[in-house]
Amino acid sequence: MNNQAEFVKDLVTEHGTNRESLLPILQAVVEKDRFLSENAILKIAEETNIPAADVYGTASFYSFLDIVPRGKYVIRVCKTITCAMKGKNQILLALEDFLKIKLGDTTPDKLFTILETNCLGWCHKAPAMLVNDDVYTELTPNMVVDILSAYKAEADKE
């Protein structure tokens, strides 16, 4: 937890305690931990002097600022109309099948979380998904297996 406190402190030093700095600070914590823990929220509140309720209220508004634990790799499959028309469900099934979890869940090894998201802006190359910040388009169930295998291999190396 000490690490967490140091990390938040450094972030606040870097971005400042203005309210305008709140989103960048929250984003940086999510980038590192993949979610905002209660401790992180309290620490950010303490360091920035913004009420914890406001920090939580802001964080919980944004779909990319998760407030429940997520895997190291958060998969967000686009579910909006064009992706839905072009086989989003098959992609989801392939993900669930490969990871042996359901939509919304995280693998027991805390490596992957499967989520759905709204329009990613790749309708001309549907279906699309994000793995953290990386974009994958024109997906097929086979591609999904290759993509996830690569992430698994990357995690194994670390």
Partner: protein
């Protein structure tokens, strides 16, 4: 490209390979502010994000404000379903967008600018940072005190609404503000702010370079110029196309459809669905918004062929709105939930078909009473789908 005989004119202005931003800015800086504003006003350029506010007027109103601190913001929170052209513009010609921002900053007297980039496009940040380095060097050479930074969103469609975007930048929930006051008076940090769509800014570079007269050689009255369209759905050639404003949906479908087009959604989920029988009479542009004949759009063109269920389409849109409603005002928060529940109940036979009319009335109420464009525009797709494909909603 297709091999049809009659083809819409493909325009090559926005993505044209031009690397003279410094020279164009220098040339423009030598002119008076009034001249530049007149050029912008005369061009007839209207906001390319979808709302269509005259850009020159926006710049003029902000320039007239006496407040010392002002901001220029590029709205790159491209979240409307079916829209992806801003990402392409920021990828291929970011320097034109930045030149537009610099021009605007010079005129209104802003020293700080931001690109509000949706979180989904975070992968663009490194290349944009490189571009900003080059840009700031040009600003130094031109002696303009103007710095641009990137602000990342975090997955909220509503933050594309300008006042919600300011709230978000201020570290708050992205909840739209009451208007007036408008951003030209009271925007980011309550200072006068010009907020323009990515494409609008790129067009202003084109206007600086070629002049208002040249800009108006394209398009039709009240909808001058070209526009970048995001084409997706049931089409053999999905992608990004720059076309002239004023085209009919029929001409568009002849070019982009798969031969079996049943309907086209113009302007994304918050826009209108045009059924086949209206293709010929519907035109793409800003004029006559209320007649339903001219359709304003941020450039999203989603094509549906006869294999698609319009019930599924509407269900998908409502699911989207119900999730993306910020929840601040009751008409939108509860309205979206009830519309979604309502069409499902009708489909399952739990409610009579006439219940659809009640839901249509509800969208009228939302159009009148919702606080921002999100809640107000749910009525667009809802009514155009339910009225044209009523039987698909029931059976």
């Amino acid at each position: 490209m297709t091999t049809k005989t009659k083809q819409l004119n493909r325009i090559d202005l926005i993505f044209k390979n031009e690397n003279d931003c410094k020279e164009i800015l220098q040339k423009s800086f030598d002119r008076s502010h009034e001249e530049i504003i007149n050029e912008m006003v005369n061009s007839g350029l209207k906001g390319r994000g979808g709302a269509g506010f005259p850009t020159g007027l926006k710049w003029k109103l902000t320039a007239e404000e006496t407040e010392k601190k002002k901001y220029v913001i590029c709205n790159a929170d491209e979240g409307e379903p079916g829209t992806f052209k801003d990402r392409e513009i920021l990828t291929r010609v970011p320097h034109k967008v930045l030149a537009g921002m610099a021009m605007c900053a010079k005129i209104i007297g802003a020293k700080e600018g931001y690109i509000y980039l949706r979180g989904e496009y975070k992968f663009l940040v490194p290349q944009l940072r490189d571009e900003l380095k080059k840009f700031h060097k040009i600003m130094d050479e031109l002696n303009l005190d103007f710095v641009v930074d990137i602000f990342l969103g975090s997955g909220a469609y509503i933050c594309g609404e300008e006042s919600a975007l300011f709230e978000s930048m201020e570290g708050k929930r992205g909840e739209p503000r009451n208007k007036p006051p408008y951003p030209t008076q009271c925007g980011y940090l309550n200072k006068p702010t010009v907020i323009n769509n990515v494409e609008t800014l790129a067009h202003s570079y084109t206007i600086m370079k070629y002049g208002a007269k040249k800009f108006r050689e394209l398009g039709v009255k009240d909808s001058w110029g070209s526009k970048v369209f995001s084409v997706s759905g049931d089409t053999p050639i999905p992608g990004i196309y720059e076309l002239e404003l004023g085209m009919s949906v029929q001409d568009f479908v002849d070019d982009f459809g798969d031969g079996d087009t049943k309907a086209v959604q113009v302007g994304g989920a918050s826009g209108f669905l045009v059924p086949r029988k209206r293709f010929a009479k519907s035109h793409i542009g800003y004029q006559g918004k209320l007649t339903g004949v001219s359709l304003p759009t941020g450039g999203s063109m989603m094509i549906f062929n006869s294999s698609r269920s319009m019930y599924n389409v509407l269900n998908n849109y409502l699911d989207f709105f119900e999730e993306e409603s910020c929840g601040q005002c009751t008409p939108c928060r509860v309205g979206c939930q009830q519309l979604l529940k309502g069409i499902k109940a009708v489909k399952r036979g739990e409610k009579p078909a006439a219940y659809l009319d009640k839901l249509l009335k509800l969208t009228d109420t939302m159009r009148l009473t919702a606080k921002c464009g999100l809640g107000q525009s749910v009525a667009n797709s809802f009514s155009s789908i339910v009225e044209n494909f009523r039987e698909e909603m029931i059976y």
